[in-house]
Amino acid sequence: MAAAELGARPLLAGRGIWLPLAVLALAGCAALGLSLAVGSASVSPEALWAVLRGEGDALSRTLVLELRLPRSLSAFAVGGLLAVAGALMQVLLRNPLADPYVLGLSGGASVGALAAMLAGLGGAVITGSAFAGAFLSTLLVFGLAHGTGSWTPSRLLLTGVVVAAGWGAVITLMLALSPAERLPGMLYWLMGDLSYSRTPWPPLALLLIICLLLMPLGRSLNVMARGPLQAAALGVNVRPLEWTIYLVASALTAMAVTTAGSIGFVGLVVPHMLRLLLGNDQRLILPACALAGGTLLVLADTLARTMIAPEQLPVGVITALLGVPTFLYLLYRSR
């Protein structure tokens, strides 16, 4: 909010929608290309180009197409999902500090997934259980924050923070009770880890569908950002829209968490940076979040794979190391 609070216009606001999106899309492609090329064994740009055209030697093909590409696409999809979910929560609560991680959605999804893992179940059950956890968290936060009065942003945010803390305790309890041989997998998953992600297509498809669905809602979201009464006076059906935002954000979070575990701060930092650059028109910010969030997580995952290669770091550690100082700075600035 720094530049904005000083009264300056966002740097690129009002330049149309397509130029910023094209630049972000190019950056995304470049990040994907980089993530395919570097790693414990690097692939030269020529070799990479050959593989992408369907040529090249068998080893490079296996490395790029079967190992790196699915993982990079998963990272892109998860980053996009988290950033869009964060942007939506921020509009809903009219608070730049909201994101699925802070509001307990990630926590709920994690508890669901860990419970399934603890029970020795796998695959689809973990996914379904994480979805159930995220939606349970949604209902808890929205139901409790509503109470007998009406939703206020600060009440929603506080309820979300407390529910998130509760999920944190449940997670610790589950870890304490789980047998030692399951612990490393669970821990890694809690910190966010893309090496377990199987196919990138479900999260990518969800990201695309949600972005298309949100396009016609963009202007209504802009009006919602002015507060529910103002939005209602300008013809927005506020309550259904609020539920839509919250449920969509939950679905996005649940999908992201089941793909890559619990990754924090992408949903917080990406929308914020983009608002500083592009202004606050949701019709631009939401697709831009999908692209920039994806790009950021692809880069973070590439770092996680290569920093101490051949060992791997959980990508959540990288995003947290970037996100914590940013979050603290924003809190400090926003007073």
Partner: protein, 255 residues
């Protein structure tokens, strides 16, 4: 839709008896002032009339149709509301803020076009804030924000204006300018209803008055019939001295 009807309307003020139900019509061309002490339900009344909260009893009618049966968008095309206070969400410029007044007129896929931009620019110029168009709303003064809020409703082009203390924070010149704008809207065939604390502005600019008493009682009618000093003294629990200045009655509180 340019006629606002109140059919046996009882507004929902928590912890108060029903009082007298309001049955009146705000006709095109009329300027109604709502007077009453703090906490009497003036804002609640305007929000109820705009459909933002449900009445305890009775109904609000837009051209004879119950407001509750109309879609939000349809209501927003007919009826604009100037809020008493507003929240800053995310940073937005003055021009962007005025442009959201076009929201009820645009379809989901439509971007704001040249005509919308022209309406917004005209409204900003009319309220004397066009030179601030590029500024962020958070950097404006209270009076400038108030004028921007009115410019946003002007951009919305409603047939019925509801204004909650439209002269709040305004200097003397802009108070008069805003009241003249609202009177002009009425003269062009729109209906206006506003809450006011300034008896003298009400006496000068409104042609009908609605007086809301703390116990839920209410009375309404043409201005001259309502400006009884004794009734106004009872309304505010305040003794008043009256004089006539520039052809209009002036009320001054006395100690």
């Amino acid at each position: 839709m340019n006629r606002l009807g109140l059919g046996d309307l009882v507004i929902d003020v928590p912890g108060r008896d029903d009082g007298r139900a309001l049955s009146l019509g705000v006709e095109p061309g009329q300027v109604w002032g709502v007077l009453g002490p703090n906490g009497v339900g003036k804002t609640t009344l305007l929000h109820t009339l705009a459909g933002l909260r449900a009445p305890r009893a009775g109904q609000v009618l837009l051209d004879g149709q119950a407001l509750a049966t109309l879609g939000r968008r349809q209501v927003a095309r007919a009826l604009g509301l100037v809020f008493q206070d507003r929240q800053d969400g995310f940073p937005a410029t003055v021009r962007e803020t005025a442009l959201i007044g076009r929201h009820p007129w645009l379809s989901a896929w439509q971007m704001e076009g040249g005509e919308d931009l022209r309406l917004a620019e005209t409204a900003l110029a009319r309220l004397d804030v066009d030179h601030l168009a590029e500024r962020l709303v958070s950097t404006l003064s209270g009076g400038e924000r108030q004028r921007l809020a009115i410019a946003t409703v002007l951009t919305q082009t409603p047939q019925i204006w509801l204004a909650d203390e439209p002269t709040n924070h305004l200097d003397l010149h802009h108070q008069t300018a805003v009241m003249a704008l609202l009177a002009e809207q009425a003269a062009e065939g729109r209906a206006v209803m506003m809450c006011l604390h300034d008896l003298n502005l009400a006496a000068r600019w409104c042609d009908h008055l609605l007086l809301l008493y703390p116990d839920g009682e209410a009375c309404w009618g043409p201005r001259d019939a309502m400006l009884e000093t004794s009734a106004l003294e009872r309304l505010y629990g305040q003794r008043l001295a009256t004089a006539e200045v520039d052809g209009a009655p002036v009320f001054v509180p006395v100690r």
